[in-house]
């Protein structure tokens, strides 16, 4: 029946071309929009997963209360003049060795890095800026995050194990007007500013990190904080970052410290991804549904127009299945062809989008161009959506055609 289906399509060139155009646009739109959004998501996801710990154990920040410091439990005549309040000083992980033993014994852990995270003030000349210092063992830190790949100058290991050296975010360095090899003063707010030498510069593309963060050796950060041998965080990398939920739940049981997975830390961004996916799929489905209705309408009209043909074909021995295929094939052909042309057009659009130069940021490649995903699954999904919508829209009119009895058509005068 393919022969006759093709003839039907070719004899209605304008109608066929319009339906085909609908499917092509729908498919191409899906490919281009998905390529753009997934490219952005992939890049961002890579940053979320690899720029920081998959799981972070950090010291719980306790708020002091009068009851916690009450040594005169039964002395009703003793009162505080000014009750204790505010954050407990020097939040720290109370029993890090316990965590280290646990992490060393866990086969799902790739690496972990004890850290000291502290808020600091950077001083250079008259410029003072608030920011954050992360003190760590550089070798351990490099196994946990991909910070080395963001180094613009120097190596991450240049901070060494002590010696007041630091790696600084490029934007922060620009803001305070410093340069490589220069010494700046850093204060934790409790003691006199300590000089640190800039030995490296990094740029992650994430403004809030690049503008505020410096990395130093663990002992240097501990000294600056005034609490040698204490740590505030343990950054952990696991083999399966998308399956950390259960582990985090288990660790939380009975633990006093705060344990946060990368997904919880990035919940707002991940929810944006979900919204993007819903928007992307809704948009494309709308286009494809419109094209599908086009096929449905045209085939329904065609079945009515071709009633005489159906009658004569049935009298020649063509079966109801043959008649169904005659119309169904047309939807199928349009879907297959429209799908393929749509994929090619979508690919071309992706190439064009990938060449658009944009301002440097999270969603750009190293050459400051739009990041586009060419994941084959986008193309497979787009083609199947095109095919499914075409086939589904062709099915009903085709079945109606197959049900027509030749005698009924002849008696009605065709």
């Amino acid at each position: 029946m393919m022969f006759l289906s093709l003839r039907h399509l070719s004899s209605r060139k304008k109608q066929s071309a319009l339906i085909l155009l609908g499917i092509v646009i729908g498919t191409a739109a899906y490919v281009a929009i998905s390529g753009m959004m997934l490219g952005f998501q992939d890049k961002l996801m890579d940053q979320l997963v690899n720029n920081d710990a998959h799981i972070r154990i950090s010291a719980r920040e306790d708020i002091l209360t009068a009851e916690q410091l009450d040594s005169f439990e039964n002395a009703k005549h003793v009162f505080w003049y000014t009750p204790p309040s505010g954050r407990k000083d020097s939040a720290k992980i109370d029993y890090p060795i316990g965590w280290f033993n646990r992490l060393n014994a866990d086969p799902e852990i790739v690496a972990y890095s004890p850290q000291v995270n502290l808020n600091v003030i950077f001083n250079r000349g008259k410029v003072s800026l608030a920011g954050r210092m992360i003190g760590s063992d550089p070798h351990r830190q490099m196994r946990v995050t991909n910070i080395q790949s963001y180094m613009l100058s120097g190596k991450f290991t240049d901070v060494g194990s002590s010696g007041n050296r630091l790696i600084i975010g490029k934007a922060l360095m620009n803001k305070i007007g410093a340069s490589l090899s220069e010494t700046i003063l850093i204060s934790s707010g409790k003691n006199t500013p300590t000089p640190f030498k800039i030995v490296g510069v990094f740029e992650t593309g994430i403004k809030q990190i690049d503008e505020t963060t410096v990395f130093s050796a663990l002992s240097d950060a501990q000294n600056l904080r005034g609490a040698p041998s204490e740590i505030t965080d343990i950054a952990i990398k696991v083999y399966h970052p998308f399956e950390v939920d259960q582990k985090v739940q288990n660790w939380r049981m009975g633990a006093r410290d705060k344990i946060v997975s990368w997904q919880e830390a990035s919940a707002s961004i991940l929810s944006v991804f979900k919204t993007q996916d819903i928007v992307r799929n809704s948009m494309t489905i709308s286009i494809i549904v419109v094209a599908g209705f086009g096929i449905y309408n045209i085939l329904s009209i065609l079945v009515t127009q071709k009633r005489r043909d159906i009658a004569i074909m049935r009298s020649m021995g063509f079966t109801p299945k043959d008649i169904m295929l005659l119309f169904f094939n047309q939807g199928l052909l349009l879907g297959v062809l429209g799908g393929f042309i749509g994929l090619a057009l979508g690919y071309l659009l992706c190439l064009l989008i990938g060449n658009i130069e944009v301002e440097a940021g999270r969603a750009t490649s190293s050459s400051n161009r739009m990041i586009v995903s060419y994941d084959y699954l986008i193309y497979v999904k787009a083609w199947f959506i095109a095919l499914f919508s075409s086939v589904a829209s062709a099915l009903w009119p085709s079945r109606q055609a197959a049900k027509l009895e030749p005698m009924d058509i002849i008696r009605e005068g065709g």
Partner: protein, 222 residues
């Protein structure tokens, strides 16, 4: 041989019988015209005995097989291989050329290549060998009806059924169609049953059956 026994046809369960307890035998090689006034039931009888209408009381046998009990695939094969139909309106498929229209039953039977030379011969017989590649809308009404006849004959069917084949044609073209029927009946022993309201064309058949109110009132062989 076709045998119709006690055929009764009503278009609604309580309506009048259009064909009323009618029995008839059609022998192989018969050339039969069905005549009668409008509403006499001649076209209805044609569709009943040709298997297109299978909703009736009574029985229609093709040799030993009763149509309503015949498996559907067998019925489709019977229509494809042993029957040809010609309607008052040609019912050609507009997207296909004259040659492709003629070859459509052969395409269904999977005998496209084998029947190609037969199709060209038929086109020659109906005088349209030079218009083989024309579309129906590029042919006159008479030419279209001749293409429809060639299509009905492509499988060299045992039975040819025609409903008012000359009804839409002028006398000259009507004559040409009747000549074709007579020739095929003689040359190929094709059983031909046709409905006509034209007394002159009815006389061209070797057997003339007249219907009045769904009953056979005369069945004469010449």
């Amino acid at each position: 041989m076709i045998r119709a026994l006690h055929l009764t046809k009503r278009f609604s369960p309580t309506g009048p019988a259009v064909i009323d307890d009618l029995s008839v035998e059609i022998f192989d090689g018969n050339f039969i015209s069905l005549v009668g006034r409008s509403g006499s039931g001649k076209s209805t009888l044609l569709y009943l005995i040709s298997s297109l209408d299978r909703k009736y009381e009574g029985e229609v046998f093709y040799d030993q097989s009763e149509i309503t009990h015949m498996p559907m695939q067998e019925l489709h094969n019977l229509r494809n291989r042993q029957m040809g139909f010609v309607f008052q309106f040609h019912y050609l498929i507009n997207e296909l050329t004259a040659l492709e229209n003629i070859l459509l039953p052969a395409r269904k039977a999977g005998l496209l290549k084998e029947k190609e030379s037969t199709a060209h011969e038929l086109l020659k017989t109906v005088g349209l060998d030079e218009k083989a590649h024309r579309l129906p809308n590029q042919l006159s009404g008479g030419e279209q009806q001749r293409v429809a006849i060639a299509r009905a004959l492509i499988m060299q069917p045992k039975y040819l059924f025609a409903d008012e084949p000359t009804g839409n044609l002028d006398t000259h073209n009507g004559d040409a169609v009747m000549n074709l029927f007579a020739r095929f009946n003689q040359d190929h022993k094709t059983t031909i049953v046709y409905v006509t309201h034209d007394r002159e064309f009815a006389k061209r058949a070797s057997r003339q059956i007249e219907l009045v109110d769904g009953k056979i009132v005369s069945d004469e062989a010449h």
